[in-house]
């Protein structure tokens, strides 16, 4: 049995910010114990409907996907982000022009594949604005 890997917020943040798209996107993460939260501050460039205004569906999709892959990397204790096989996103509420948060739960961690569920919210954790479930291919170390 391998030694337990202590979650390290700085290492996980460095891994996330090594992804150019994550820097473009402006996403950050917070780790408390084993609970990982992705934080996306609002900016006008993230809008999909400028009238309301509402966040673009692709913004919530990317936030949920990044939440899923970083949570799998944390669960595995390895720096490699898994590859997305499929994602299914439900849009529950309009994304308002404010900060958005996301958390994911690995529902099954197999040898090759992880099943993950993730939710994004803004004002209340219990009132998600979008939800994802998906499958991710684990990359060998």
């Amino acid at each position: 049995m391998s030694a337990p890997v202590l979650p390290d917020e700085a290492a996980l943040r460095a891994r996330l910010h090594a992804v150019p798209f994550a820097r473009f996107f402006g996403v950050d993460l917070e780790l408390r114990g084993d609970e990982l939260t992705l934080v996306l501050p609002y900016r006008d460039a993230l809008v999909g409907n400028p009238l309301l205004p509402a966040l673009h569906g692709g913004v919530l999709g990317a936030l949920l996907e990044l939440s899923a892959v970083t949570t799998v990397a944390l669960a595995l204790g390895q720096p490699h982000l898994p590859k997305t096989i499929d994602i299914n996103i439900d849009y529950l509420r309009s994304g308002r022009p404010t900060a958005t948060f996301a958390r994911a739960k690995v529902t099954r961690l197999g040898r090759r594949i992880a099943s993950v569920a993730a939710e994004a919210w803004q004002f209340e954790r219990a009132d998600p604005i979008a939800a994802l479930h998906g499958h991710f291919l684990l990359t060998p170390e």
């Binding site: 150019p20 996107f25 460039a45 999909g48 569906g57 999709g61 299914n88 849009y91």
Partner: protein, 162 residues
């Protein structure tokens, strides 16, 4: 005001309208999306390859989040081009299967077909690829709500939810 003798102004083409709508959508403009082609209930768009949109720094493959946004956006454009009149739409659900990594350095195209519109919901299929839709990077199926603003006024989202 045009004079009575002047020829009537040419109405903007559907292509010009959809291209203008991309430019007016901040996130689509930020990702550099452009309209390639449209036909009734169909749209084709391009996401340019950009170093700042890479998802895997080891390989240079573009981020899945960019493909997700492209597929969502091209699906929405095909819905807009399938409705009899202009109405607000919002994505209800979006499923994406990623068959392979996009080729580093290459633009990604996506084409969508809105194959059914009802009073409340539109159904769409889309595919992302570099050269050949038969060799896809990703497939998407999506449903959109029609008249999604539900009578909400512009700026309605600036207030927190009740």
């Amino acid at each position: 005001m045009s004079s009575p003798d002047a020829p009537p102004p040419t109405p903007p083409s559907a292509t010009q309208i959809v291209q203008a709508m991309i430019q007016a959508t901040p996130y689509a403009a930020a990702l550099g999306f452009t309209l390639v082609d449209i036909a009734p209930a169909r749209a084709r768009m391009r996401a340019p390859y950009r170093a700042d949109l890479v998802g895997d720094p080891d390989t240079g493959v573009i981020a899945g989040g960019v493909i997700t946004a492209l597929l969502d956006h091209v699906c929405g454009a095909s819905v807009m081009n399938a409705m009899a009149q202009r109405q607000s739409i919002a994505t209800l659900d979006l499923r994406i299967d990623y068959m392979r990594a996009a080729i580093p350095g290459r633009d990604v195209l996506a084409e969508a077909h809105c194959y059914k519109v009802t009073r409340s919901v539109a159904f769409v299929r889309a595919v992302a690829f570099e050269d050949d839709p038969e060799d896809p990077v990703a497939n998407a199926t999506a449903a959109f709500m029609i008249a999604s603003d539900g009578g909400r006024r512009p700026g309605a989202n600036r207030k927190p939810p009740r």
